[in-house]
Symmetry: C2
Subunit: 205 residues, 2 copies
Amino acid sequence: MTKGQQTRRDIVEKAAPLFNKKGFEGTSLSDLMHATGLQKGGIYRHFSSKEQLAREAFDYSWSRAASKRLDGVDDSANAIDRLKKMISNFVELRSELVPGGCPLMNTAVEADDGNAALRSRAQKALHSWAGRLSSITQDGINHRQIRPGINPKKLSQLIIAILEGALLISRLQKDRQPLQDVRQHLDQYLEDHVRSKARRKESRR
Amino acid sequence: MTKGQQTRRDIVEKAAPLFNKKGFEGTSLSDLMHATGLQKGGIYRHFSSKEQLAREAFDYSWSRAASKRLDGVDDSANAIDRLKKMISNFVELRSELVPGGCPLMNTAVEADDGNAALRSRAQKALHSWAGRLSSITQDGINHRQIRPGINPKKLSQLIIAILEGALLISRLQKDRQPLQDVRQHLDQYLEDHVRSKARRKESRR
């Protein structure tokens, strides 16, 4: 990595928590100068606009979150256990993320009525998260670990909706309990309604 | 209402969609001047600061949303049907709200790391919504319409989390389907796990 590339990367890493906490509009050039220790020219030598920096900061924050959510997921051969692990990672591994909450929620809420480039970034992030949950679910159906009547897309949406909604409540109340409660709810739901009963009986033999 | 009071109310009504769409930071004085047709002095004659106007705009947006969610809820004697009506109102009556999505979500996301006065407003809004759902649930338990093991606070949180999370997805994808899907999920959940079975058998006799 050249020195220029390293500086560019440093700027993205330092800008990411600002954009994630304060939003695109709420983050000023002076915030960015203060966080990076650079002058305006030093920042804009590497990025054509605040928007370009915000897009790369989103990608950085999202890739941190997305990779944390996959921690240890592939250790399990059973699709239900893999879904539960993704849920538990979302709930438990928050302190290792870029500060400011879920970058998807933050960017979606700010950009749904505004910035098209950021909105498209958030859409792609949602699409990839839902895609991962869907493919685990489809794999579970194929291996008769998950009931064949389950719709992978709807199940993914439900999991994401519950987690994001509970995160909203948890952050507003500064209390982790709502996240813990929905994790328990989702685990129970996956066991009672999604895990293939046939398979469970087989494994008890 | 005096002319001054009327002007004040007009400013709040015109500012509310701006703050709800663009956020506190994203709404500029020139946006407010453009929307109200007033000069700076004309606005600040009625409000001590942009923050005071934003707080009143939030209260206005929230009161519209909160009252829509209660439409026809008290027409039903059964607590499960009242909960289902509140859920259906959230999903169906969106076009009559202040534009820009749920004011609670918008304000919570912007204010969770920032503005304390707006955050406290959003906390109160969440508290009152959850309180309403909880009191319907408790009433249902008292009248043996809802299973006695149900925790009113946790059920309220679950309903709010699912609805807010699905709204996030729906707004980002510009597609109402995720909201319709979770409505169906919640209705099924309320019937299968929350409605008192004893009571259902009785009513079939």
